[in-house]
């Protein structure tokens, strides 16, 4: 039945392009049975007062892509309380379930058990091919009860960071007059789905290509979606032929130079070394800029070869040049986990962690915390905190705990103004996570807690009384400042071991 149904749809789609191209309204009509509205009610957290949360509602666009399957971007689906769907751009809302969400791929699959919702809807096929340069495209969305279709022009394929993660993969860039896009709106070329819009900056829309979604959905279906992998090393283009000559590479200049190979977060072996020249990855020649020729998308940055049909844990063959000789190595792709970064770029589906002791508030340093300085936090947040975001996690330093503020109480008199320091040791023990902090607080030194901060020019040590006075003070602070819990610590995915 399903087979037949899809075939019919195919035939129907095949007839359309001739007039659809000329008439945007007709294009819209073609998609109104596949495009739905998604409403997400969610908790937003205040990283300055991590015990606080407020409710927020956002509207997104979803695309029916299979039997009882709606795809959309992962954005705004984190910390959700309720997700609902609406078809036809108006009328009744139906409660939905999030079947699967991957913040690194920035994709999510939604469904609903309510059979009536699916009647009248038709799945679209993610069959779109790479558009040609300058191709005329349409961005489709529900707006005020009508299906809106806005024209867009294809600019390029480029390997870009995902919106919610540091994973890079091929994305499509469009130019359009549309405003406020980036909520999962389908991009179509006549009858074909080209991708869904992940973000808009100015006139430029960043689109997740159909091919990328297709591979991920297929892998998910086959039970193979192990998460995206990435290359955990740094390279520089080899545009300076003297550098290649110095490394004794004969022949035409080619390849890129490996410059930094940090510890792997999964403790796996690093098969590359600084000063290796990468000549070939997964069968593709790497040029001086670090690009390879993708059969589908043209010239792309080599980072894409860590996600092109590959998953975390997969092997990627590389031909390299080391010590004046060619060498073949097999690179096993590590899985990208936010918690593996020294300063996690994302914290999803969990309230912010904190620990209050005697009015001192400790938090892990994360990018969401830094974002309370605004969109230009990289310029406005305290320099030292921002600088940590460019540093690597190591076995000795898996994370940073900071004293974020002091809630004033007689107990902490003299420290009320202190804030913004990274913790080095507590009671003589190194502290790189709130769990370690909690453990260190169990072992006061001669009835005192001694907090040593990373050397700075403001304050390097705080001493508090430990024991009953401390517990009473913590309780008093919680009551006075209206805080329910003294600690909020979400267990972490295993980090560097």
């Amino acid at each position: 039945m399903k087979f037949l149904h899809l075939n019919l749809l195919w035939a129907w789609l095949a007839m359309l392009p001739a007039f659809a191209a000329a008439d945007p309204t007709a294009v819209a009509r073609l998609w109104e049975k596949s495009v739905v509205k998604v409403e997400v009610s969610r908790n937003l957290y205040d990283y300055y007062q991590p015990w606080n949360r407020r409710n927020d509602r956002s509207i997104k666009i979803g695309l029916v892509v299979g039997e009882r399957q709606i795809i959309t971007t992962a954005q705004d689906l984190s910390d959700r309380v309720l997700v609902r769907l609406q078809k036809g751009g108006r009328g009744k809302w139906t409660n939905a379930k999030v079947e699967w969400v991957d913040y690194h791929a920035n994709l999510a699959v939604l469904t609903t058990d309510d059979a009536t919702f699916w009647s009248g809807l038709q799945p679209a096929k993610l069959n779109g091919q790479a558009p040609a340069e300058g191709a005329a495209l349409q961005i489709i969305r529900w707006r005020e009860g009508k299906l809106e279709s806005r024209s867009a022009e294809f600019t390029q394929f480029a390997v870009r960071q995902s919106e919610l993660s540091s994973i890079s993969h091929v994305q499509l860039e469009l130019s359009s007059e549309i405003q406020g896009a980036g909520l999962g709106e389908p991009v179509v070329a006549n009858s074909q789905i080209v991708g869904i819009v992940a973000a808009q900056r100015g006139r430029t829309c960043k689109v997740i290509p159909a091919a990328f979604m297709r591979t991920i959905l297929a892998a998910r279906q086959a039970g193979n979606a192990r998460g995206l992998g990435y290359f955990h090393f740094y390279w520089q283009p080899a545009e300076n032929p003297a550098s290649l000559a110095h490394l004794r590479l004969p022949g035409e200049p080619r390849g890129v130079l490996v410059i930094n190979v940090p510890e792997r977060p999964d403790a796996g072996e690093q098969v590359l070394q600084p000063r290796d020249i990468i000549l070939e990855i997964d069968g593709f020649d790497v040029d001086l800029q670090g690009d390879y020729l993708d059969p589908e998308f043209g010239s792309l940055m080599l980072e894409n070869l860590s996600t092109r049909g590959k998953w975390a844990g997969d092997d990627v063959k590389m031909k390299i040049w080391r010590d004046g000789k060619p060498l073949e190595v097999t690179y096993r792709l590590p899985k990208y986990e936010f918690a593996h970064s020294l300063v996690p770029t994302g914290v999803y589906d969990q309230p912010p962690d904190y620990l209050i002791v005697g009015g001192l508030v400790f938090q892990p340093l994360t990018v969401p915390y830094l974002q309370r300085w605004g969109n230009d936090w990289e310029r406005r947040a305290p320099f030292r905190f921002t600088y940590y975001t460019g540093e690597e996690a190591t076995r000795d330093q898996a994370g940073i705990v900071i004293l974020s503020q002091v809630l004033p109480d007689a107990f902490n008199l003299g420290y009320q103004e202190q804030r913004g320091f990274a913790v080095d040791k507590v009671n003589g023990q190194r502290v790189t996570s709130l769990t370690e902090l909690r453990a260190a607080l169990q072992q006061p030194k001669d009835k005192f807690h001694v907090f040593d901060f990373v050397p700075n020019e403001s304050l390097q040590r705080i001493v508090l009384a430990a024991g009953d006075a401390e517990r009473e003070a913590t309780q008093r602070v919680l009551e006075r400042f209206g805080i329910a819990e003294a600690t909020q610590i979400t267990p972490k995915a295993a980090a560097l071991k």
Binding site: A242, E378, T386, Q460
Partner: protein
């Protein structure tokens, strides 16, 4: 009896110093032509700027003014009150840390009929002062009257990394007032020197204790500088901390939080020592001393004397009071972290690559365009590394400031503003190391590695040597080094 003496004294002053009621005669207008180097292209100077300030005549045929008025000057012209004639002046002594300078005038007739102003004491808060000077907005002398608002330690913006005693007044102090005398009862009680943008009715002047110290400092014909102790003192008010240190709850004592790496006190003091008294001044638990009825930060207690002086301290360590002596000394060890003046930026040039030591001035010039993320590694190296990773500190971190394009270096991806880690494998601790690495190289390719990206570039050695003179000429760089 007392009153009578006072009257006599006043009469004597007015007899001896017949012009004392007219300090404006001794207030001097200073016109300068200054030229600063371009720290990111260290062989080059910026355009000549015309600027100005004020000064005043003191004993010994000298003009006192601010260091910042006469820094980087190519020519200094001084003019007397209601006298059109320009006189040429030169800097005799300059103290950048305390923002004071003394000028001499080649034509000594300048001082004819010019009474020298005498110095008074630190004025009282709420007392009235009058500033004399030649601020912007007109040509003639200007007077502003105000009260002394407060007296405390604050940052001297000229050098940028020193905090000294400062008096705040609500008398208007505007650009051009700098260096002018602040007068009370016909005596100089301050030298006007800075304001705070955005704050109204707040001008600042340098008070007599700082001025007198400067004058005494130069008595040996050499300016040493304000002595430093290199210790960070923090308040000690938390009851638990005091209990842990077995200190009575008597509101006394400031805690030693850390010592700078080259602190002259490092063999005497240690973290968690509590300083109870500096010299003659008991220290309160917020780190202040009572100085002439003003609560000011205790660092003042180390700054009143000269470099090399010994300051007796009463400290609390391991539950006991002890008396120790700390030698204080002027230090230029942290000079790169502050603004530098009247020096030629050092650099070395090889194959179009310009290497220069990292400094606050360089950083300011290199990040002036405020490119996102530019300079963060440099900022860390200059201001944080010595605190956090003292073992990795380099004597004089070297920056590849720019790459002047030539066929020999055209393929470099690194275009400058990066810290040099190694050249030909040798760790670069100072500019001399970079020079040595290139000049002794026998390699086909010189390899330069950078912090912290780990990027590297290779340069054909003989080609670079051959091209050097040509590139210097092309870009108008007068010589390949300035050391």
């Amino acid at each position: 009896m007392f009153l009578k003496n006072a009257i006599v004294a006043l009469l004597i002053i007015s007899v001896i110093n017949g012009f004392a009621t007219e300090p404006e005669r001794s207030a001097i207008q200073i016109l300068t032509y200054r030229q600063e180097p371009d720290w990111s292209a260290p062989w080059r100077f910026d355009a000549v700027q015309r600027a100005g300030g004020s000064g005043f005549v003191i004993k010994g045929k000298r003009i006192m003014t601010n260091a910042h008025v006469v820094s980087w000057c190519r020519q200094i012209i001084v003019r007397k009150y209601q006298d059109a004639k320009p006189y040429l002046a030169t800097v005799e002594y300059i103290g950048h840390d305390c923002d004071l300078a003394l000028l001499t005038v080649a034509d000594e007739s300048f001082f004819d009929q010019l009474p020298a102003l005498d110095f008074g004491e630190l004025p009282k808060v709420r007392s009235t002062v009058v500033t004399y000077g030649y601020p912007a907005g007109g040509e003639e002398i200007s007077y502003t009257r105000g009260v002394v608002s407060r007296i405390e330690m604050s940052a001297y913006s000229h050098i940028g990394n020193r905090r000294l005693l400062t008096v705040q007044t609500d008398a208007a102090i505007n650009p051009g007032n700098s260096g002018g005398p602040v007068i009370q009862d016909d005596r100089v009680v301050g030298v006007a020197f800075q304001g705070i943008a955005g704050l109204e009715n707040t001008g600042f002047f340098i008070p007599p204790p700082v001025i007198q110290r400067f004058l005494k400092d130069v008595e040996d014909k050499h300016y040493d500088g304000v002595p430093l102790v290199g210790v960070h003192f923090v308040p000690l008010q938390n009851p638990a901390y005091r209990t842990r240190l077995q200190l009575p709850d008597n509101n006394l004592g400031t805690r030693v939080d850390y010592l700078r790496p080259h602190s002259s006190a490092s063999n005497v003091l240690q973290p968690d020592d509590v300083v109870l008294q500096v010299g003659e001044f008991p220290v309160a638990s917020d780190g202040t001393i009572l100085y002439q009825s003003n609560r000011v930060f205790c660092a003042l207690g180390f700054q009143l004397g000269q470099s090399g002086d010994t300051v007796p301290l009463k400290i609390w360590r391991a539950g006991q009071e002890q008396n120790v002596n700390v030698k204080v000394a002027a230090s230029d060890e942290d000079q790169p972290e502050g603004n530098q003046f009247d020096v030629k930026p050092r650099y070395f040039f090889f194959g179009g690559l310009v290497f220069t030591p990292l400094s606050r001035d360089y950083l300011g010039a290199a990040t002036r365009d405020n490119t996102e993320g530019s300079g963060t590694d440099l900022t860390y190296e200059l201001f944080y590394r010595s605190l956090e990773e003292p073992a990795l500190v380099r004597e004089e971190p070297v920056v590849l400031s720019s790459v002047l394009a030539d066929a020999v270096n055209a393929n470099f991806r690194v275009r400058g503003r990066v810290l040099v880690d190694r050249i030909n494998g040798a760790r670069i601790e100072k500019l001399a190391d970079a020079i040595h690495a290139f000049e002794t190289s026998t390699n086909t390719y010189d390899v330069i590695e950078f912090i912290k990206s780990h990027q590297f570039e290779a340069l054909e050695h003989t080609e670079a040597v051959r091209a050097n003179t040509k590139i210097l000429k092309t870009y108008g760089v007068p010589r390949d080094r300035q050391l």
